[in-house]
């Protein structure tokens, strides 16, 4: 009875949280994610300095190594960049931008991919063929290459980066949702819903979708990490976000220019933060995959 309850009963979210709590590695990674998310949200409050307020930046403090002290007594824990910005503050703001872009892109891709995947599975036939051929095409191209092409064609900008990321990511969601929805749509409860005269949208979103949640949560988590990494890559290459909203990737790129001059802190610390962020999200994602959908392969 208790085994039965664990398998079918708990809500998907409950199962996910319990699964994470049961693994020490995943709980640790989850805690880090949580801390980073909180830090990003509260960046304007906890950052010692607003790195984009020119009145707060002292150009004479540029290129200071970690633990240097400013003239008005502020300690630059992680040093300053070439403009005299506090690296720690810049990284908090960069984390904020990276997470915002990654999560926005992930959520939009999830919404679009899910809707298309459900439609393909439920309507079948022509719709299915058309949508899935497009998905195959998208999955066939390397993510970064497609995103690069889009940005080269349409130019830079935060929303353009997000759109490029959504464009290359929705297909993963569509494929996963369609697979699960096909299995679910063949079950009698869907036939019963049709027999009860419920509308197509009600069946799709009220009955099929809730039963497709597990793979969505898993893929959603992993795709957010991958969106953050992709955005960092684009920004590093100089075609990502504009300089007015530097993400971690842009900080790394800026620091990289002076790395060989021995000013390591400007690129290494943002790099480490990005690594920890992406790595933690992926560990959580892998754990979710184990708990929610053991057979799911990406």
């Amino acid at each position: 009875m208790s085994a039965k309850r664990v398998i079918g009963g708990e809500s998907t979210v409950g199962r996910a949280l319990r699964g994470i709590a049961a693994s020490r590695k995943a709980s640790f990674a989850g805690a880090i994610c949580l801390i980073l998310i909180l830090a990003a949200i509260s960046a304007p409050v906890i950052a010692p300095q607003d790195p984009y307020d020119l009145t707060e930046i002292d150009f004479f403090d540029s290129r200071l190594p970690p633990w240097s002290e400013s003239r008005d007594g502020l300690i630059y824990v992680l040093g300053t960049d070439t403009q005299g910005r506090d690296m720690f503050s810049a990284m908090l703001y960069g984390l904020r931008t990276s997470l915002a872009v990654g999560v926005t892109a992930g959520v939009l891709a999830l919404l679009i991919g899910t809707a298309l995947g459900l439609v393909a599975a439920y309507l079948g036939g022509r719709w299915d063929n058309f949508i899935m051929r497009f998905v195959d095409l998208m999955l066939g191209f390397p993510t970064i290459l497609v995103a690069l092409m889009i940005l080269v064609i349409f130019g830079q900008g935060t929303w353009k980066v997000i759109l490029a990321l959504v464009f290359v990511q929705w297909a993963y969601f569509a494929r996963a949702v369609r697979g699960t929805a096909l299995v679910e749509a063949a079950k009698d409860y869907v036939e019963a819903a049709r027999c009860l005269g419920l509308s197509t949208s009600r069946i799709l979103f009220g009955h099929l979708l809730p039963n497709c949640l597990p793979p969505l949560i898993v893929i959603g988590t992993i795709q957010v990490a991958s969106a953050i990494a992709a955005e960092a890559t684009l920004s590093f290459l100089g075609i990502g976000l504009p300089i007015t909203e530097p993400s971690l990737g842009l900080l790394i790129a800026n620091g990289y220019q002076v790395l060989l001059a021995g000013l390591y802190w400007m690129s290494i610390y943002p790099g480490l933060l990005l690594l920890v962020l992406v790595f933690s999200i992926n560990i959580v994602g892998d754990r979710l995959r184990e708990v929610l959908n053991p057979r799911l392969a990406t």
Binding site: I7, D188, C195, L196, G197, H207, P210, N211
Partner: protein
């Protein structure tokens, strides 16, 4: 004359698997054979009168579920018409079509997959009547409780999820869900086949009780003849997409008028006299993609004549209230009747 509740006339249903682009290329290049067409229903005519319990029998794959789904309006027929109370269903207005759709409900076989595992029982049962405005939101709790009671479940369990119930209880939930939209016809598609034998009897009794209380009409689909015999007023026997025999239950079981029915009824001797078991018929069920010519049953029929492989036997009256699709129906019927006579003599002795 009163109109029948359901009149399916010459209904055919063909399934052709659609091939996608890659497959079409493969077929064009000769690397694949074009997909075959399954004739799931071949000019089936079936009438159901109001208040009747009609048993639909036949081996698995003969088209019973397909016929049920066509009658329920879930599948459009490839050919032929379905009339609901004398009106062609295909020509109904939207509102009428919806009313008819709700008036026919299906009770499914698998008590696990027929309930949405993510919904509470109160939502499973209450969703459709709310959606169609049959009840108001404030009434929903009361309405669901009444339905749960009606099917023999504890109304306090309305907030539970399906997995917290046994197979028999889940089947009762499925019945309550169907009753929630005030149906007139219940199509029970192997509704008790997946349950324990002890539970089967309970659910059968529930169906019979509901039929009496709610004046329901039942189309009871089963491959199990003892169940069909127990519950039906009239039996329809199908073979490979065609109706082969129709008769009142007693008449059909006493003296079948079709060799296929006769073969189905050949009993396996059992120690327990009350238990009836029926032997499977010898020979493979032919593929529905390439069914035999003439009478579909001829490769397995003991009485087959040369004519049987050439001409399709019509479903025709052979006695009062009896239809059979066999060239030799009259002979089979009289042979059955004699055999039955012998059998009752034997049991009398």
């Amino acid at each position: 004359m009163t109109v029948s509740l359901i009149h399916a006339k010459d209904v055919s249903k063909r399934f052709t698997r659609t091939s996608d682009l890659a497959e079409r290329a493969a077929i064009w290049l000769g690397a694949m054979k074009p997909p075959g067409t399954v004739h799931a229903l071949d000019r089936v005519t079936l009438t159901i009168e109001k208040g009747e319990v009609v048993g639909l029998a036949g081996e698995s794959g003969c088209g019973k579920s397909t016929l049920g789904r066509v009658i329920a309006g879930l599948l459009p027929p490839s050919d032929g018409t379905v009339e609901w109370q004398g009106e062609d269903v295909a020509k109904l207005s939207r509102a009428e079509a919806r009313r008819m759709r709700l008036a026919t409900q299906i009770i499914f076989q698998d008590p696990m997959s027929s309930l949405n595992p993510r919904l509470r029982v109160q939502n499973i049962i209450g969703e459709a009547p709310l959606f169609h405005g049959l009840i108001k939101r404030a009434q929903a709790r009361r309405y669901v409780a009444e339905l749960l009671e009606r099917v023999g479940l504890d109304p306090d369990h309305a907030t539970r999820y399906p997995h917290q119930f046994s197979g028999g209880q889940r089947q009762r939930i499925g019945i309550a869900r169907a009753l929630a939209v005030n149906p007139e016809l219940l199509i029970c598609d192997e509704s008790i086949a997946a349950l324990d034998v002890s539970i089967q009897a309970q659910i059968l009794n529930l169906f019979m009780g509901l039929r009496r209380e709610l004046d329901l009409t039942l189309l009871f689909i089963s491959h199990d003849l003892s169940v069909i015999r127990h519950i039906s007023d009239r039996v329809v026997v199908m073979y490979l997409g065609r109706v082969v025999e129709t008769a009142a239950t007693d008449l059909l079981f006493d003296a079948p008028a079709h060799p296929y029915t006769r073969a189905l009824l050949d009993e396996v001797p059992t120690i327990d006299r009350r238990a009836r078991r029926f032997a499977p018929i010898e020979g493979e069920i032919p593929s529905p993609i390439a069914p035999p010519t003439g009478c579909h049953f001829h490769p397995r029929c003991r009485y087959a004549e040369p004519l049987c492989a050439k001409a399709v036997p019509d479903l025709r009256p052979v006695a009062a209230g009896r239809l059979s699709a066999c060239h030799l129906a009259e002979d089979i019927l009289s042979a059955s009747a004699t055999k039955h006579g012998e059998r009752s003599c034997a049991s009398a002795r």
